[in-house]
C-alpha cells in the first residue's frame, strides 16, 4: 500500500508538469494583452508597448517559460501583473471562502443525495422514485446561476432569512459564516445532488438484485439494515467515484456561484484573472486546482480499499 501511495504521488509530478506546460502554452497563444488593459482606454500604442516591455511580455516564449518553471520549483508562483501582490498571497486571501463553500456543498450534497438515491431505489417505480428522479433531471438541467437567483429572491429578498451576498470569515463566528454560505451551497449542490442521487439509485438497484440481499431478507434482516448496511456498502465504490469526479463539477460551479453571491473566492479570482490576462494568477490557480483534483482522486483510490477489502494495490 505504502509503495502504491508513493508511486501515485510520484505520478502526479509528470501530470502537474504537463498541466504547467499546457496552461503556459495556452496563455501564450491566447489573444489578449494585459498591457492594454493596464494602460486603459486613453493610452497610446506607445504607452501600451512600454508597459508590455516593463512586464517582460515581449520576451521569447522559452525564456518566459523557463523562468516561470524555475520559480515554481522554488515554490514561487510569481507576482500578479495587476495587483503587484504575490500570487500565493492572492490565493491565500481567497482560499478560505472557496474551501468553505466546497466543504458545505459536499456535506450537504452527500447527506441529501445518498438517502434520496437509496429511497428511490427501494421505492422503484413509485411516485417517490419518480419525484426523486424528476428532481435529478431538474438539477442537471437548471443552470447554477438560475438556482442561485431563485434562492436569493426567496430566502434573502422575500423572507429576509439570510444575506443576498458576501462572505464572513469563520473566525468571525460560525453562524454568520454559515448564513452567508448556505444559499450558495444549495445552489452549487443542486447539480451535485442530482448526480450522486442518480448514481446511488442505479447502483443500489443493481445491488438489491444480488443473491446476498435475498439471503439477508430470508434471514429476517430489517429493511433499514438491508438498505444501509448490506446494499449501500456494496454500492459504495461507484458512488465514491462519482463524488470524487464531482469535485471538478464543484470547482467549475464555484466560479459561477461565487460571482452570483459575490463570494471573494478562487473562482472569481480565476475569472477576473482570465478577463484581464493576468497570466501569473491564472497559471497559479490552475496549477492549484489541478493539484487538488489529482489529490482527491488519489484519496478516492485509497478509499476503495476500505470500502471493498477485495481491492488491493
Amino acid at each position: 500500500m505504502f509503495a502504491y501511495i508513493v508511486r501515485r504521488v510520484l505520478a502526479t509530478i509528470p501530470v502537474m508538469a504537463f498541466v504547467a506546460l499546457f496552461v503556459f502554452s495556452l496563455l501564450y497563444v491566447a489573444p489578449g494583452d494585459p498591457a492594454a488593459v493596464i494602460a486603459g482606454d486613453q493610452a497610446t500604442p506607445e504607452d501600451v508597448e512600454r508597459i508590455r516591455a516593463s512586464l517582460g511580455l515581449d520576451r521569447p516564449f522559452l525564456i518566459r517559460f523557463g523562468e516561470w518553471v524555475w520559480r515554481i520549483l522554488q515554490g514561487d508562483l510569481g507576482v500578479s501583473i495587476f495587483t503587484n501582490l504575490p500570487v500565493s498571497t492572492m490565493i491565500q486571501q481567497r482560499i478560505e471562502p472557496t474551501l468553505s463553500l466546497m466543504i458545505i456543498t459536499l456535506i450537504l450534497a452527500v447527506s441529501v443525495a445518498i438517502p434520496m438515491g437509496v429511497i428511490a431505489a427501494w421505492q422503484q417505480g413509485t411516485t417517490i422514485d419518480r419525484t426523486v428522479m424528476g428532481f435529478a433531471v431538474l438539477g442537471f438541467s437548471v443552470p447554477v446561476f438560475v438556482v442561485g437567483y431563485v434562492l436569493a429572491y426567496i430566502f434573502a429578498l422575500e423572507l429576509d432569512w439570510v444575506p443576498v451576498q458576501g462572505y464572513t470569515p469563520l473566525k468571525q463566528g460560525f453562524f454568520p459564516w454559515f448564513q452567508n454560505l448556505i444559499l450558495p451551497a444549495v445552489a452549487l449542490g443542486t447539480v451535485y445532488i442530482a448526480l450522486i442521487a442518480r448514481i446511488t439509485r442505479a447502483t443500489m438497484l443493481e445491488v438489491l438484485q444480488q443473491d446476498y440481499i435475498r439471503t439477508a431478507r430470508a434471514k429476517g434482516a430489517g429493511q433499514r439494515n438491508i438498505l444501509f448496511l448490506h446494499a449501500l456498502k456494496n454500492a459504495a465504490v461507484p458512488i465514491v467515484t462519482v463524488i470524487g469526479i464531482g469535485i471538478a463539477l464543484l470547482i467549475g460551479g464555484a466560479v459561477v456561484t461565487e460571482s452570483v453571491f459575490a463570494i471573494p473566492g478562487l473562482g472569481r479570482l480565476t475569472v477576473d484573472a482570465i478577463l484581464r490576462r493576468d497570466y501569473p494568477v491564472i497559471q497559479g490557480v490552475v496549477l492549484l486546482f489541478s493539484f487538488v483534483y489529482v489529490l482527491v482522486n488519489l484519496m478516492i483510490d485509497l478509499l476503495y480499499t476500505i470500502l471493498d477489502p477485495r481491492i488491493r494495490y
Binding site: P31, T83, L157, P163, V164, F174, F175, P176, P264, R268
Partner: protein
Amino acid sequence: MDRRNFLKATAGVAALTGTAGVSAPALSQGAAARTLRFVPQANLANFDPIWGTQYVVRNAACLVWDTLYGFDDKLEPKRQMVESEELTDGGKTWTFKLREGLRFHDGEAVRAQDVAASLNRWAVRDGMGQMIRAIQEEPVSAVDDRTFRWRLKSPYPKMLVALGKNNTPMAFIMPERLARTDPFQQVSEFVGSGPMRFVRNEWVPGAKAVFTKFDQYVPRNEPVSWLAGGKRMNLDRIEWIIMPDPATASAALMNGEIDWWESPLTDLIPSLRRNRNVQVDIQDPLGNIGAFRFNHLHAPFNDVRARRAVAMALSQEDYMRAVVGDDRSLWQTLPSFFTPGTPLYSEAGGDILKGPRNIDAARRLLAESGYNGQPITVLVAQDQAPLKAMGEVTNALLSSIGMRVDFVATDWGTVGQRRASKSLPGQGGWHIFHTWHAGADCTNPAAYLALRAHGDGAWFGWPTDNAVEAARNKWFDAPNLDAEKAAVAEMNSAAMSHVTYLPTGFYKVFQAWRRNVLGVIGAPIPFFWNVSKS
C-alpha cells in the same frame, strides 16, 4: 424584530450559553452610520493612478491623493493644494506656492520636492503633461519647501487645466520617494495626500478595498464643488465591495447590504425604482459618447469617401436604443464630437449625422470609394454590454450599404490587444471597433486623445488630418473663451469632414443609493466628501 435579527439574536444567545466563538461581531449603530458600503463600476485591481489609468483607479485615487487644482462643476480649475500661483517671464514661468499644513498619510509634511517629483512622473504619462515637457526649459523643481517652479520655452495657457483636470491620469501628489518610481512601474506603497487613507491590509483585489478617514487632512474653506473646495469627510470608513453580478448588486442594495451602487444596469432600474428605500438618479450629467472607430490605414477606410458613406447611413437613434433602451431622457443624437451642454459644445460640420439616413447615397459613395467587396473586420467585445449592442447595430448598418462583414465576436481583453495591430485586417488587424468616451473627457480637446489626427502617434486607427490638428493647437493657444469656442467649432467641423471617428450618440447612465445616504451628487466621479448616512 425581523427574522434576520432574530437569527442573529439566537446566535448571540448561543454564544452566551457556552458556545463561545460562534457569534458575529456587530457594528454599533454609530459605526454603521459612519461606514459606507459602495459598489464601484469595476474591480480595483491595482492602485497606482499614474501607472494604470482605468477610471476605477482614478476614482479611488481621488479619495487618497489630492491634486494641486481641481475641476469644479463648471469645469473650471480651482486651487486645491495650491495657495497661490504666479505667471511671469511673458507667460513662460509658472511659480506655485503650496498651502500650509498639508500632510501625507504617514504624517510627513507635503513639500515642494514631493510635488515636483509627482509632476515629473505624471508628465511622462499624461498627454497634456507630455506637451508641457516638450516645451519645458527645465523640469519642474522645488524653490523651497512650499514653492515650486516650472519654466517653459513658450507660454502654455492651459497649465491650470492640465494640473486640475479629471481625465486620467490626473496629477496626483505623492511623496517624493514614491513619485520617483518609473512611470511604467507600479508604486509599492500607497501613502496619500487626500482625505482618506487606503487600508492596504484589507485590500482583496477583485473583492474589497477599504478607505478610512485621514484626520490630519486640511480641507479648504470654500464650499466643495466636485474636485474643488473643502473636501470634508462625514464618513469614517468607506468599503468598496466589488460585485460582478448586477442582479446580486441590485438585490443587495434593496436588502440594505450595500449603500450605494455606482452603475446599475439600465434593465434593473424599474425594480430599483419600485423599492421605497432606494433612490435612483443620473450618475453623471456629462454622460458618455459612443464611438465607432475606423482603421484609417487600410482600404476601404483609408479613403474618406468610404468613411463618409458609413456616416451618411449611420443612425445614432438605432445605436442609442440598442445601448440604452427607449427612455429618451437617457440619450440623444449627437452631431458633434463634444459633450452636449458644456461651454465649448459645437455642432459645426455635423450635418452628415443629422436628418433622415440616406442609404442609397451611401451605397453610391461607397462604390465611388472603390470598395471591392472585401470583408470588413469588426471587433466586437461581447463582455461589454454597450459594445456588444453597438457591434450588432454596426453589423446591420454595414450590410445595409452592401459591405461584407467579418464579425469578430470576442472579449474586451482581445479587442484591447488586436486594436493595437497595424497589420492588414485579414492578418490579425482590423477595420472597426467600438468603444465609448466619458463625456468628461470630451468637454474640450485637452485630453481628447480619440480626436487626435496625427497619424502614427494618434489613437488606435491612426487618423491623419492636418486641419484637425491645427484647430486643436488653436484651442491650446486660445486666450479667452470665445477663441476657445471658435477653435473647438473648427476642430469639430474638420473632424466631421475627415470622419476621424463616428460618434454613435450621447447617453447617460444611472446610479442608485439607499435613501438614508445623503449628499450623493451626479458627477463624472463618485465624490464621497459631504456624503453621510442618517
